[in-house]
């Protein structure tokens, strides 16, 4: 297996965007290519979760490639629900690692804000098991079941969970590309509208548009891909024995650490899939970044804050940077690359050498862990 490097990274501002999705993806792609000093890649991997239903467009790999000006470059599309961006990164990585390609452009994006919230909720909900969906289960509903079980089993309280949202909003306020630019308080989180008891509105990520892109190459650059892991679980939540840990994350982390040859103790910062605030706490323990049962405590103590021992979601996370579905896994990698190369202006973690990106597909049915390290 050849070594693979991230030579360029780019993304659009996340939020409510009026431009068509292919245009947003072109902006992110050209930014990544410019940084890599490449006019054209050897191949393109496109990540979109559901453009057929969000936009009414199919054949999206060719659609995007043509829009960027690469109708002559081989393109394919990858989809694993909400972790599609991370899955596309794996596909691009694998092509370079195998020696099939020298430089691959990976670009992900989603556009949803032109639809009503119930419609978006329904479309995202199609990644849920059909039987559970027939009972009205949406992502927030399943996350509500997980959260209540978590609180009952671990004694995790409202303040610890709310603090995740408070921290991530504070980080996003320093990120000019984030969907939300304002801080929130614990009280505001706890007084926000109930969505799926005990989850409230400010525990949940927003509906966002946006795109992110990276270029991976065989030619050395400042950031190396140290390891990638994929983990899976049953589509149906009722087929799982436990709700309070995600098997798919644990499996992905094991694989990624094994490939990297180092463990969680070397990770300096992490971008974690906090589509719902309690998921950050579950994931910190699943990833081995925090000892079992300690995620709430370390969050309250500020260990995961920007100036803490292990900054988590310096970008603002899905919670506040925003969650344009298939862009998210790549936006996490873009943030890690910027942090590792000293370009996360306004929110720079000093001296970071190892970064982790964690992406959840569906209700943790198809998860990814990507480890990046500096080469300098």
């Amino acid at each position: 297996m050849r070594e693979v490097f991230v030579a360029g990274a780019g993304m659009t501002r996340i939020g409510r965007r009026s431009e068509p999705l292919p245009e947003l993806m072109a902006d992110a792609a050209h930014a990544a290519l410019a940084e890599a000093g490449l006019e054209a890649p050897d191949a393109i991997v496109v990540a979109t979760m559901n453009p057929e239903e969000f936009l009414g467009d199919g054949n999206f790999a060719s659609h995007v490639a043509t829009q960027i000006g690469f109708a002559d470059v081989p393109a394919l599309r990858v989809e694993t629900a909400t972790s599609s961006g991370a899955a596309a990164f794996y596909a691009g990585f694998a092509a370079v690692a195998a020696g099939l390609r020298q430089a691959v452009l990976i670009v992900g994006g989603e556009k949803m804000t032109h639809l009503t919230t119930p419609k978006v909720s329904e479309l995202i909900g199609r990644s849920i098991d059909p039987y559970e969906r027939a009972y009205g289960a949406t992502m927030p509903a399943l996350a509500g079941l997980v959260t209540r079980s978590l609180m009952s089993k671990t004694g995790l309280g409202q303040r610890e969970i709310a603090q995740v949202a408070v921290k991530n909003h504070a980080n996003a306020a320093r990120n000019p590309l984030a969907h939300f630019q304002q801080a929130v308080t614990v009280e505001e989180v706890l007084e926000s509208r109930m969505v799926a008891d005990p989850l409230r509105l400010l525990h949940c990520c927003p509906i966002s548009d946006g795109a992110a892109a990276v270029v991976v190459t065989a030619a050395p650059s400042r950031v190396r891909v140290a390891g990638i892991g994929q983990g899976t679980d049953t589509l149906a939540v009722r087929h799982r024995r436990q709700l309070t840990a995600f098997t798919a994350t644990r499996m992905a982390a094991r694989e990624a650490y094994a490939m990297a040859g180092f463990g969680p103790e070397r990770v300096d910062l992490a971008e974690v899939h906090d589509a719902f605030a309690p998921f950050e706490l579950i994931s910190l323990e699943d990833l081995g970044l925090v000892p079992p049962g300690k995620a709430g405590r370390v969050t309250l103590d500020g260990d995961t804050a920007l100036d803490g021992r292990l900054p988590v979601n310096p970008s603002g996370g899905l919670k506040a940077r925003g969650h344009p579905l298939a862009a998210t896994g790549l936006a996490q990698i873009v943030e890690c690359v910027w942090q590792l190369t000293g370009r996360a202006h306004g929110r720079q973690v000093s001296g970071a050498r190892h970064a982790l990106a964690h992406s959840i597909g569906g209700l943790a049915t198809n998860n990814w862990v990507t480890l990046l390290e500096t080469t300098g």
């Binding site: 009205g136 289960a137 079941l145 209540r148 079980s149 004694g155 799926a196 008891d197």
Partner: protein, 143 residues
């Protein structure tokens, strides 16, 4: 109401039970065998959805229930007032849609009576249940 039977299936390799029945085991490429399970179980978790998807009325109560036998099952409920994780519930079908409802003390006692065979087992089961409740109460008081 308690006599409701839930259609389920069992994996001949790992004994996993799923409800409703599936053709293949989620973890093994083998055909599952049909079984039925009694419509009683324990609440694993529950939620109330305040903005349910199209076609559902707000508030929408959902519960994940572990049936006696081990299969977990998603169902609706009319009410979640006073409901707790671990609570015993009965499941019944109305127009092919499954609903959970709380079990009262009398129904729970009857269930114990039915489930345990000999008199000695009955006494043991009731004692275990009481001990578990006291233990759980102590946990709550401590936290």
């Amino acid at each position: 109401m308690i006599a409701e039977q839930i259609a389920a299936s069992r994996c001949p390799r790992c004994d996993m039970l799923v409800a409703p029945p599936s053709t293949y085991c989620p973890h093994h490429p083998v055909l599952m065998q049909p079984v039925t399970l009694p419509g009683v179980g324990e609440v694993v978790s529950f939620t109330t959805l305040h903005t349910p998807p199209q076609g559902f009325r707000s508030p929408l109560h959902l519960a994940l229930v572990e049936l006696d036998g081990g299969a977990r099952f998603v169902c609706h409920g009319a009410d979640v007032r006073g409901l707790r994780i671990g609570a015993a519930v009965a499941i019944e079908a109305i127009d092919d849609i499954y609903y959970f409802s709380h079990l009262g003390a009398m129904e729970r006692a009857r269930l114990f009576w039915r489930r345990t065979g000999r008199a000695g087992d009955r006494v043991n089961a009731i004692a275990r249940s009481l001990a578990k409740r006291v233990w759980k109460g102590r946990d709550r008081a401590a936290s």
